[in-house]
């Protein structure tokens, strides 16, 4: 049985993004074989016209629906992040670590409800600081949004890159 097919089945049936060592545990293949299989699968999926891709988020890998198909697929899936808090989430990710009071200046009083929702979803965490709360993104933030980053700094950098890309496109 070819190793990339075993890994394909593993990724398909994994409940959340997985690391190489988790794949190792499940498949009893060695890490070099797994990395090679992941590379092969990523070439196979990501460069094709398929609706599914294999994404890398720092040390984790996940099979997921490609961006352009998210909308039709999302209707049958069980999405958890309300669309209207996405703006607050991306602002926190961009300015982090950022005081909630600063965020209030940016988005107004809805920040309290948004932060509550994002905290409950485990996407953002707050730490008391200077009579306010300092907000940062979590590991789950990286996984949920499929960002290839290992740290908050990398999340920030990734967002900056996206913004530069967007700006370059628009006239």
């Amino acid at each position: 049985m070819r190793s990339e097919r075993i890994i394909e089945a593993e990724l398909f049936s994994a409940a959340k993004p997985v690391t190489v060592s988790e794949l190792q545990m499940a498949s009893a293949l060695d890490s070099r074989t797994i990395r090679a299989a992941l590379k092969k699968l990523m070439d196979e999926y990501n460069d094709s016209d398929r609706a599914i891709e294999i994404a890398k988020m720092g040390p984790r890998y996940a099979m997921q629906v490609k961006k352009e198909f998210t909308e039709p697929a999302g209707r049958l899936a069980d999405l958890k992040v309300p669309k209207d808090v996405l703006k607050t989430a991306s602002l926190i990710a961009y300015y982090q670590p950022v005081l909630q009071s600063k965020m209030f200046d940016l988005v107004g009083s809805r920040i309290y409800d948004d932060v509550r929702q994002l905290t409950e979803l485990g996407l953002v965490k707050g730490r008391p600081k200077k009579k306010s709360v300092e907000l940062t993104t979590t590991k789950r933030f990286i996984e949920t949004f499929g960002i290839d980053a290992r740290s908050r700094q990398e999340v920030k950098a990734w967002l900056e890159g996206e913004l530069v890309r967007k700006k370059g496109k628009s006239p």
């Binding site: 994994a14 099979m63 998210t70």
Partner: protein
Amino acid sequence: MSFTSECGDVLNHLMFHKAIIEEDSGVGKEERLQHYLDMVGDMQNGTLVPSEDPFERSVALVFELVVNNQMNPWDINLIEFSKMYLSRIRKASELNLIIAGKIVYMAWEILRLQSEQVLQRVDRPEQVELMFDGWDPDHLDLFLEPFELGMGEMLLHMDEQPIQEKVRRKSERPVTLVDLLDAFEDAKRESDIRLELAKFMQKYRRPEFDDKAHKENLEEDIALVWERIQKCGGGSVPICDLYAGGKEDRVKVFISLLFLARIGKIHIWQEKLPFGEIFLEVKVPWDIAQLEDATVTVAAKVEEASVVK
């Protein structure tokens, strides 16, 4: 399908799990699975001898239920299974409540997960939602100076955010027979710990009062106080009339009155809190109390009733 072929399914399931165990795998896991295999094998041949051990009997019951109800060992419906298991052990002479509890708990966990998913589906916000709904554009202009916005300002005005929740597959694995047996093992471990703990407690228990003597004393006290109440006649009686001197006697009277009130022989009330006088009145059964001239009968009836159950 016959009993034999149903047993075959369970045997195959157990054999698969035994096969994937490595040679130096978990302590006793292989023996445990072999033991289960033997058990189901004996069941198939009709040669299974009921065990003395209640845990063993509980495990045998699991196999029996799975086989007789033609349940798929790869996909046990825990809700159904726990119902059957509970109704079976209710008939059995002794209950293994820890094991039964574990199964119910597993079933409950699964139900809860399912209902959470339903709730999440219900909670999902409408697809079409205004991105700026609830944003306060007037407020946005007031504050900008102290905060270096940089490129992040773009985020404020973008219709489509660069981040987007990824759609992944929700992966679920059905509960298998081996999961169930593992839960049993846990339950056994927990009950063993409890047994050990109970032994320990027994051994190092603080020497206590002799319960029996204590109880007899209390009964005597109550009878004595009841006698004193009888002497006071009908109507409300201040409890100080019952005291016969000494702190100990007061405690005895007070405790006995509490008991008498609790078993419904008397009413107790206090006129003024917290230091006011406490009164009591003997309760008269409702049917007799309606007779106006029944004082004698009442006294007799009350005396007939046993003071202490």
